[in-house]
Assembly symmetry: C2
Homo-oligomer: 124 residues x 2
């Protein structure tokens, strides 16, 4: 189940690239069938399963704005990773969450938790 740091970073970069350039279905395809997603942590809402996860990313993309992402800090941990990144929504808004992901043996995401609050959203 454990991956080396370079492999984990490649999974995270593929995720960020897909969030920026791909469809909600393409992002959801990076998750396992029974994966869980909590974004933001503390919202009390956990999305369970790939279909629910695709719905979550559809809402994200709903604004139709261009999304760009930047990996700012990356930390590996066995079959997990924690990372700080920026997501820019067009030229209007920048959010910098810390996310924690777990991966299965094939590098698919088994869980994602995103830590951020309104204080981490900047209007540009």
């Amino acid at each position: 189940m454990s991956h080396d740091a370079a492999a984990l970073e490649s999974f995270v970069k593929r995720y960020l690239d897909t969030v920026a350039g791909g469809s909600a279905a393409a992002v959801a395809a990076l998750y396992t069938d029974d994966a869980t997603l909590e974004d933001p942590v503390g919202s009390g809402e956990v999305h369970i399963g790939r279909q629910a996860i695709e719905g979550f990313y559809k809402n994200l993309a709903g604004a139709g704005a261009d999304l760009t992402t930047e990996l700012l800090q990356f930390r590996p941990g066995g079959h997990e990773a924690a990372f700080l990144f920026a997501i820019n929504v067009g030229s209007a808004m920048r959010i910098e969450p810390i996310e924690v992901m777990t991966f299965d043996a094939d590098g698919q995401i088994t869980s994602m938790k995103a830590y951020w609050s309104p204080a981490d959203v900047k209007q540009l």
Copy 2:
């Protein structure tokens, strides 16, 4: 169980201050009796309970070097928090982990996971 962002940040700052200036027993006292600690994540070793956790921090302090800590990035999440920080070991070494903590209703730490690898250790 949920705490506001300011309360969560105060718990994290108290932890970092205690790691820098306090004894292993003082750090362990910030944890609940049955808390868990995994540092680094992926090591395959989880310390369970306050006594094991005190042992972990005793080993940390074992070098006898001055420790200083700096909170670099903080993200709240209900009864959890994720944060990037630096720990300086004397003037010899600097490590920048991302940690994730969960807290009980009283602000005591119920779990801690530290994400970092040798690549995140700088010899100064």
